[in-house]
């Protein structure tokens, strides 16, 4: 009994079928528009409907579990220890890991789904449910994920409601399975996690589509404007409103209010995390402070007169931290109320007064327009009196504070990255702030504050890092291209063949958060490496910001150096977290536009196509959140591999392939109907690497696909070999696995590679025409 959504079984009243049908008295007239969609086998799949595809993936890429804890603490039978034992409910360690992963993915999916639903209903309230989804001339396939999964194209904002209804229903079933005494098999949990990831994909697409069409954000514009990025771009002489989080609505209403009142020049509006990205898609005068990692540092700097928080990735102690500097805090969504009084129905001027006079600790205002007015008015009134607060403890004070250090060393042990915090503090005590400065400027410290919490003397280390970095704040002026939204159909048409055939060596997507092992610069260096090598580099969210925070040898940011087109050497900032949907979307569009695969209800065929032919690789180098887990898992289900930074190992689960087991890589050549030997391409589906060097080589390898033409394969292997030589010093030892015939061997490396092939007793093998995992008998 799969839970049966009403929509699949009983289509009366649903937009899928009703859209082209007008009901008139006694007669049904279909609209003139032809029924464009060919309905595939599984529209609106239920929890178990794609299970057979999942099991194919899971057989090749077996879940690899790294328990973060030996115990389960979810029911009152527990805690149970699962180290070689089953719990009181019968669960074992692997199953418990998978269950926890599903739970994390669902929390992530819910974050996007809650966000999407909220945006959608708000925008429908403003614009009506008939507001058209139109991404302009160059984007016909405006919603590739929705088309594929829902089996139909959404034409209006109202249609997106059906998407959300479906997503919410599926989430409810999936979350149910996490209850004690339900699913008992780890692979079934992973299948459900895949489904959660797919729901996440849908929710993100719905959210970004809604905001693009309703707020008129760039519609796949490769020339989206360059935006100011960095601490140094904020004019601290003006009143400053800082928006933190992910929801564009309050920020949009703040800039609208400023426009309306002609105050654009008088107030600085800036943002941290995805709210920054989306506000600057809406209005390019807003500024981006930077990724998540800047949050505590910027709040501590005292620069923001008003801190507007919406949802996701906001420090939960933002109120406490902001109050230290008497910044006014406005919470704006049900997701984060912070215990504040609900002032939604109050007069704006009264709220401003209450905030300024400190009658309230902050305000919860659930109406974004009112937030716009209150935030601006408060900032203007508060700024003059807050002037003295816009500075940190001075250098002498830092030295004084540092001298309190007792050398216990627990700050370093508490630091997620084991940074030499104590050493920096001790140096500071001697008057040398350079190490603290380095932690700030090189972004080694992402201001999580655990060091402070651990310090037995309560030394405010993050404030000291912030202060030490201040001297060079003026240098922190960068550029980022505003999020452009999806790839255009015309671009896909152009790059489809080169990608599938391997002429463009790959699409590499840098996404996710800033939980980096060694600062954000690594991401920029990786992006640079692949841009220089002709890859298409796609990015979103905090990753996009980290790429912008780097200047190359010419003093330019990569956004200034490379164009924003979805093509070789393009550096494509698609937007915020929710814009990640356009990355899977681009892969899907390749299948559809280039290969003419029908999308509607056809998930498995599309995913099989992507897995075997689209050389794309996601990189979430600083992934920290449940959202990132959901995104990666969703992307994985489409057949796109993802690599994580070392902290990603704490997600507890990876999907690793076994290159040493040839059985796992068999392929069905649909052209011939023959099952033939394949290659480990892509070798892993979800991988965590220790450092940039390792991951760079891995990315190049993970872009290889069975369908590469010999020319394309040569190109991909050249990159793989080049990078392996650069970082490992040798031609990779597994090169033989990726050479099907001699034609695949890169010319420049011919001799060396041939030598390896001989040593390995290599034999040429068939090149599949239409490689697939479908319709293969087991074993």
């Amino acid at each position: 009994m799969a839970p049966e959504s009403k929509k699949a079984k009983d289509l009366k009243g649903d937009f899928w079928d009703a859209k082209n049908i007008q009901i008139s008295i006694g007669k049904v007239i279909t609209e003139e528009e032809p029924p464009e969609e060919v309905r595939g086998p599984k529209p609106m799949p239920h929890v178990t409907d794609l299970r057979s595809w999942d099991m194919k993936l899971l057989e090749r890429y077996e879940p690899f579990y790294a328990p973060f804890c030996d115990m389960c603490c979810l029911c009152t039978y527990g805690k149970c220890e699962l180290l070689g034992k089953k719990g009181a409910c019968g669960i074992d360690a692997a199953t418990q890991q998978a269950r926890t992963v599903l739970l994390a993915c669902l929390i992530g999916t819910a974050a996007h789904a809650g966000h999407a639903r909220h945006l959608l209903e708000h925008l429908i309230e403003k614009l009506g449910e008939d507001h058209e989804i139109d991404l302009g001339m160059n984007v016909d396939i405006e919603a590739p994920i929705t088309r594929t999964v829902m089996g139909k194209r959404p034409r209006t904002l109202g249609d997106l409601r059906e998407v959300m209804d479906y997503v919410e229903e599926q989430m409810s079933h999936l979350l149910s399975a996490c209850h004690t005494g339900q699913e008992g098999d780890s692979k079934d949990f992973e299948s459900k996690a895949f489904h959660a990831g797919l729901m996440d994909d849908l929710a993100r697409e719905a959210a970004d589509l809604a905001q693009i069409v309703a707020l008129d954000l760039p519609k796949g514009d490769e020339d989206a404007p360059l935006i100011e990025l960095g601490f140094g771009t904020i004019d601290t002489e003006k009143p400053v409103v800082l928006c933190i989080g992910h929801n564009v609505l309050p920020g949009a209403d703040i800039v609208d209010y400023l426009d309306e009142k002609g105050l654009e020049e008088d107030v600085e509006v800036c943002g941290i995390c995805c709210a920054a990205i989306d506000i600057t898609r809406y209005n390019d005068a807003a500024k981006v402070v930077g990724p998540l990692s800047k949050q505590l540092r910027f709040i501590r700097s005292g620069v923001a007169d008003v801190v507007v928080v919406d949802e996701q990735c906001v420090r939960t102690d933002v109120l406490e931290e902001a109050l230290k500097n008497r910044s006014a805090v406005i919470a704006t969504t049900d997701k984060m109320c912070l215990g504040l009084p609900d002032m939604t129905d109050e007069d704006p001027d009264r709220i401003v007064r209450d905030l300024i006079e400190g009658n309230i600790k902050g305000a919860l205002i659930l109406d974004p327009e009112k937030v716009g007015e209150v935030a601006v008015k408060t900032a203007i009134k508060l700024a003059p009196e807050r002037k003295p607060l816009k500075k940190l403890p001075d250098v002498e004070e830092i030295i004084e504070l540092a001298s309190e250090c007792t050398d216990c060393g627990w700050c370093q042990r508490a630091c997620p990255n084991s940074l030499p915090v104590m050493d920096a503090v001790k140096k500071a005590a001697e008057g040398d702030l350079s190490q603290l400065e380095e932690m700030a400027v090189e972004e080694l410290c992402y201001t999580c504050g655990r060091c402070e919490q651990e310090c037995e003397r309560g030394i405010p280390i993050v404030s000291m890092v912030t202060k030490a970095g201040e001297r060079r704040v003026k240098d922190e002026k960068y550029k980022i291209r505003a999020g452009r939204g999806p790839a255009q159909d015309v671009e896909i048409r152009r790059v489809g063949a080169p990608i599938v055939l391997g002429d463009i060596p790959g699409v590499v997507a840098f996404v996710g958060c800033s939980n980096y092992p060694a600062g954000g610069k690594d991401v920029a260096l990786m992006a640079k490496e692949f841009l220089e090598r002709n890859y298409i580099v796609v990015t979103t969210g905090c990753g996009a910001m980290s790429i912008g925070e780097y200047r190359d040898e010419d003093g330019q940011t990569l956004y200034e150096k490379y164009g924003g087109e979805f093509d070789a050497k393009g550096l494509v900032n698609m937007g915020s977290c929710v814009s990640n949907a356009h990355i899977s979307g681009a892969a899907i569009k390749i299948a559809n536009i280039f290969a003419q695969k029908p999308l509607e209800g056809n998930f498995e065929e599309i995913a099989d196509y992507i897995l075997n032919r689209v050389g794309a690789c996601g990189v979430a180098w600083g992934a920290y959140s449940q959202k990132a887990a959901a995104i990666a898992t969703g992307v994985n289900r489409w057949g796109i591999p993802v690599v994580l930074g070392p902290h990603g190992s704490k997600y507890r689960r990876l999907f690793l392939g076994r290159a040493d087991d040839e059985e796992k890589w068999k392929l069905n050549d649909l052209r011939t109907g023959e099952v033939i030997d394949g290659e480990p391409a892509p070798e892993h589906l979800l991988y965590a690497a220790e450092n940039r060097e390792e991951v760079t080589v891995m990315i190049a390898k993970l872009c290889i696909r069975p369908t590469d033409t010999p020319k394309g394969r040569q190109m991909k292997l050249s990159n793989y070999i080049d990078l392996h030589r650069k970082y490992f010093g040798t031609i990779p030892d597994d090169i033989d696995k990726f050479i099907r015939t001699e034609k695949d061997i890169p010319i420049v490396y011919k001799k060396d590679v041939m030598k390896i092939l001989e040593e390995k007793n290599w034999k040429p093998r068939k090149v599949p025409k239409e490689p697939s995992l479908m319709e293969m008998e087991k074993g």
Partner: protein, 170 residues
């Protein structure tokens, strides 16, 4: 509790089971007793004098070595043969009882870790603790790894180098 045997990152503590604290002497004994030991060397062992100690230990006990991340390079530059794997890849292979080991002689029965990033090593050790009952794990970093079967304690560089010294002296 003894500060030396709280996990270096204290929150790594995962449950009642904790690693056994070992001296270099015991560590050596474990290697001697093992039939098919393997050494896994991570990028923090690229710097000196850790690298030299590692090389000497490797040589002294004729240990096959897997290098993680880009550690392969420094060994390769010294003409020392190692097998490069991602730390998650080698862990994945180690947990498979059917895997034949880096020398193709059969799955390893002891794995000695040095120089891997603390938290990812900790996760890998957790994998082996849970899913590789056929393998003993030993860490000879300067940090206590509670997810290992046996670990050196938390200590400073000076003491650590003495410990490592003892691992390869005759």
């Amino acid at each position: 509790m003894n500060d030396r045997i709280i996990p270096w990152q204290p929150t790594v503590i995962a449950g009642p089971k904790q690693a056994m604290l070992v001296t270099p002497e015991t560590a050596v004994m474990m290697i001697k007793k093992a039939k098919r030991p393997l050494m896994v060397v991570g990028p923090l062992a690229k710097r000196q004098p850790v690298l030299d100690h590692t090389l000497k230990i490797m040589e002294r006990w004729d240990l096959p070595v897997v290098t993680t991340a880009d550690t392969f390079r420094v060994f390769n530059e010294r003409g020392v043969e190692t097998e490069p794997y991602g730390i998650v890849e080698i862990t994945n292979l180690l947990k498979d009882p059917e895997w034949r080991g880096v020398r193709g002689e059969g799955q390893h029965d002891l794995v000695i870790f040095i120089g891997c990033i603390y938290y990812i090593a900790s996760q890998g050790l957790s994998t082996l603790k849970h899913f590789a009952p056929h393998i003993k794990t030993l860490t000879i970093c300067k940090t206590f790894h509670s997810n290992a079967d046996a670990s050196f304690p938390n200590m400073d560089d000076e003491e650590w180098f003495r410990y490592l010294e003892k691992m390869h002296e005759d």
